[in-house]
C-alpha cells in the first residue's frame, strides 16, 4: 500500500527533545506505537504552557482531544533521543489541528508523523469557546500557510 513520504524537520516550527525511556520499548525492541501518542500529548501541552501561557491547573479554558492520528514510517527505540517537531495545520475559532513529527536523534526524516486535534472548551460547562488570545498568538506563530 502507498505510504506517505517522510516529513522533514524544516516543515516544523517548534521542537522539543524528549529522552525516551526503558519502558517505551515493547517486545519488538522498539518504541511501542501507542507511546508516540504520549509524545504528541507531551509536546503539544508543553508548547501551550511555554509559549501560550497555559495554566494546566487553573485555566478556565482547556483543550480536549477530539482526534489523534499517526503514520509510522521507521522505528525509534530506547535510548534514542526523541525530537518532536510541532506545527499548526489548521486553526479554527475554537479548534486547532497540530501536526507532529517524531525524529530519531539527529535524523532529518521523520520516523513517524501524525496529527492531534484540540477543541478548547470551558472547564466548567465543557462547551466549546474561542481559543484564548495568548494561546492563539502562539499557535499562529507556528501555523502553516493556509492554516487559517
Amino acid at each position: 500500500m502507498a505510504r506517505p513520504e517522510p516529513e522533514k524537520r524544516a516543515a516544523y516550527g517548534y521542537f522539543l527533545d524528549l529522552q525516551s525511556r526503558w519502558m517505551d520499548n515493547d517486545l519488538y525492541g522498539h518504541v511501542n506505537n501507542v507511546t508516540y501518542y504520549s509524545y504528541f500529548d507531551t509536546v503539544v501541552n508543553y508548547f501551550l504552557i511555554e509559549k501560550g501561557g497555559l495554566d494546566i491547573h487553573n485555566a478556565p479554558v482547556i483543550g480536549v482531544v477530539v482526534e489523534s492520528h499517526c503514520n509510522y514510517t521507521s522505528s525509534v527505540a530506547y535510548p534514542d533521543m526523541i525530537v518532536c517537531g510541532l506545527r499548526v495545520g489548521k486553526l479554527g475559532s475554537s479548534s486547532v489541528r497540530y501536526e507532529v513529527g517524531i525524529f530519531k536523534n539527529d535524523e532529518d526524516s521523520a520516523s513517524a508523523a501524525g496529527h492531534f486535534v484540540h477543541v478548547f472548551v470551558d472547564r466548567a460547562t465543557n462547551k466549546p469557546v474561542p481559543i484564548p488570545h495568548e494561546i492563539r498568538a502562539a499557535l499562529e506563530a507556528i501555523a502553516t500557510e493556509g492554516a487559517q
Binding site: D41, I56, S68, H69, C70
Partner: protein, 146 residues
C-alpha cells in the same frame, strides 16, 4: 457505510472487555487520549493472538502497525469497563485495516472510534509480504457486516 458515531456494539464480530485503571485518567478527570489508543492496540493484539492464531515469536510472517487513528466522541472514565469491538474494514494484498469502537457502561453510543492498519512483514527480508491464506480467511470472517 455509517458514520463512526452510529457504530454500535453489535456491529463488531469480535470484542473484549477492558477494565480501566486509576492511572488511565488524566488531570481532566477522564481517560487520557493515550489510554484509548492503548485499548485499540489491545483489541487488535488479542484478535491476532486469538482468532488469527499469530505467534509473533515464531511465525515467518507477522504484522506491524503502520497507521492508527482515534476519534473521541464522548468521555470515558475510570473505573468503567470498556467494551472494545473490532471488525475488519478492508484488506489489501499485505495490509488490513481494523475498525474499532469503544463503548462505556452507560449505553451503546461509542465513546471513541478509530482504525489501526497492520502490514504483514516477512521476518527474513523485513519487506511486506502477502497475508497468508489461513489468516486472510479468518480476517474475512470478521469483516464488516452487510
Amino acid at each position: 457505510m455509517t458514520e463512526p458515531l452510529d457504530w454500535r456494539p453489535g456491529d463488531f464480530p469480535y470484542s473484549i472487555d477492558v477494565p480501566t485503571r486509576w492511572g488511565d485518567n488524566d488531570m481532566l478527570q477522564h481517560l487520557n487520549n493515550v489510554a484509548y489508543n492503548r485499548m485499540i492496540e489491545t483489541v487488535v493484539v488479542h484478535f491476532t493472538l486469538g482468532p488469527l492464531e499469530i505467534d509473533w515469536r515464531k511465525d515467518p510472517i507477522y504484522p506491524i502497525v503502520v497507521e492508527s487513528l482515534c476519534r473521541f466522541h464522548r468521555q470515558l472514565s475510570f473505573p468503567e469497563i470498556i467494551r472494545v469491538g473490532l471488525r475488519a474494514g478492508g484488506m489489501g494484498n499485505s495490509s488490513v485495516t481494523y475498525e474499532i469502537g469503544m463503548f462505556g457502561e452507560d449505553g451503546d453510543v461509542p465513546g471513541a472510534t478509530g482504525h489501526f492498519i497492520h502490514v504483514f512483514i516477512d521476518k527474513e527480508t523485513q519487506k511486506s509480504a502477502p497475508i497468508p491464506d489461513h489468516i486472510r480467511a479468518k480476517i474475512t470472517e470478521h469483516g464488516m457486516q452487510a
